[in-house]
């Protein structure tokens, strides 16, 4: 396959960026999208040019590092991570636009690499259960109804890639935040911190400069792990509940 790539190039956080055009040839349909970029980078290095910087690590769809907007879609046309997207999803002669996640809470570091540390700070604000090592009771002491356990798991699957923010026209982090709130708040182990968790995480989310939710559903469509839009509703409910309860205290 022969392709034309238009790639966002930006030297560093302070520099102006722009799209640059590259031609790549000999692309196999079996290549992953990132392997296609590897091919481009090998050529660029040998030509003495700066290779395209992009985040990637596990390349099996679980670490959440890869983060490209391909032809306007976070992670490209298939519902998966960029690393699990294969070139057979494109046709010979295609022009492909490759851009970084765009949100003011995710500033560009270089080219296609962005800073997602805002997500870490949202988790730090309350996305945990206080259970110091050694203090745990016997695992079977508290049974968890299977539907609750499954609900928790479904939300715990979030890989923190940020596609939800990238896809949201408001740059909102509601889906990410709600995934963690729901995972922990449904479990009996998470109950003691149920109110503070959601209030603190939402406050931090606002603090980081993410936008508000207008329920466009773009986030859930882009999510490679299928976190449902309804997750946001559940978090809203938790937030309202917590607001009422904390107000009474």
């Amino acid at each position: 396959m022969k392709l034309t790539l238009r790639v966002w190039r930006q030297k560093n956080a302070d520099a102006e960026g722009a799209m640059s055009t590259y031609e790549v040839d000999g692309i196999s349909p079996d290549m992953s999208f990132l392997e296609m970029l590897d091919t481009l980078n090998e050529e660029l290095i040998l030509k003495g040019e700066d290779p395209v910087a992009f985040d990637h690590d596990c390349r099996e769809g679980i670490c959440g590092a890869c983060s490209l907007v391909i032809n306007g879609d976070a992670h490209g046309p298939e519902r998966t991570t960029t690393c699990q997207l294969h070139m057979r999803s494109f046709s010979d002669g295609d022009t492909i636009d490759i851009e970084p996640w765009r949100a003011s809470a995710f500033p560009v570091i270089k080219d296609l690499v962005v800073d997602r540390s805002a997500f870490d700070r949202i988790i730090q604000a309350g996305g945990y259960i206080t259970a110091p090592t050694g203090a745990a009771p016997e695992a079977h002491a508290t049974p968890v109804p299977k539907p609750d356990a499954d609900f928790a798991f479904e939300h715990a699957e979030c890989i923190g890639c940020g596609a939800c923010v990238a896809a949201c026209p408001n740059g909102a982090a509601m889906l990410f935040t709600s995934a963690k709130v729901n995972h922990l708040n449904v479990l009996p182990q998470g109950a003691p911190e149920r109110e503070t968790r959601v209030l603190d995480m939402v406050a931090q989310m606002d603090e980081e400069g993410f936008g508000g939710c207008t329920l466009t559903g773009e986030c859930a469509t882009a999510c490679p792990k299928g976190i449902p839009l309804m997750s946001i509703t559940s978090m809203n409910k938790e937030w309202l509940r917590a607001t009422r309860r904390v107000g009474k205290r």
Binding site: G72, A103, N170, T216, M230
Partner: protein, 223 residues
């Protein structure tokens, strides 16, 4: 408490949802009242008069009406201010657009902001036209709402403004009602279909019900 709610994006969304639902409730009543125009000037004007005497003798003349007006103005202001502040925040959160454009989300969702602005302007016109009579075409007659309505919809622009606004209202309610349910945490996977149906039905009924008035005037059924 109130401060933290107002400072939070979720709090502002809650304000929007609650104020939106108040306005929606009012619109349903308003639409039903409007349809009385099909039963002639007598009944319609009497209904107009009744609105001022509701609650008597406990309430004084027009007190109930003013109470409703105050609540509505508060709802409109809260809704608009929240929307403005949230929109500004949303635009700041996504300052640069993608170079590669593609259509996103549903029509109703995307038109929420523009629809909201259209509806805001419409409300101003509507009040000046049929409540105060300031911009009314022809002679505005206090206490004769039937004639005033017929006058308004006898002009082409009156019909255009009204019908465009009511279509915008339908789209706004279609997304807004479902969205408010989500914001208030009332949605769930099992309820989602039902909520979407209710939203669509409400949107359709209100739009059709309101548009029925100018249509009646235009077709001569109401004159």
């Amino acid at each position: 408490m109130a401060r933290t709610v107002w400072d939070s994006t979720l709090g502002k969304k809650t304000v929007m949802a609650v104020s939106g639902l108040i306005m929606l409730l009012y619109l349903v009543a308003h639409m039903i009242g409007n349809l009385k125009i099909y039963f002639g000037a007598g009944e319609f004007n009497a209904y107009g008069h009744w609105l001022r005497t509701v609650g008597e003798p406990f309430m004084h003349y027009e007190w109930t009406l003013w109470l409703i007006r105050v609540v509505l103005v508060a709802a409109v202001v809260a809704h608009a201010v929240s929307a403005y502040q949230l929109s500004r925040r949303d635009i700041r959160a996504r300052p640069s657009k993608y170079v590669h454009k593609r259509p996103r989300a549903s029509y109703a969702t995307r038109t929420m902001r523009w629809g909201g602005i259209i509806l805001g302007l419409f409300i101003v016109w509507h009040v000046l036209d049929l409540t105060t009579g300031t911009v009314h075409s022809g002679g505005f007659q206090e206490g004769h709402p039937y004639q005033n309505v017929v006058d308004t919809f006898s002009t082409w622009y009156g019909n255009v403004i009204y019908i465009v606004a009511m279509l915008a209202l339908g789209l706004h309610i279609r997304h807004g009602f479902w969205s408010a349910a989500q914001t208030l945490g009332a949605g769930s996977r099992t309820r989602d279909r039902a909520l979407k149906i209710v939203a669509n039905v409400l949107a359709l009924l209100l739009t059709a019900g309101f548009i029925a008035v100018p249509v009646g005037v235009m077709t001569g059924v109401v004159s």
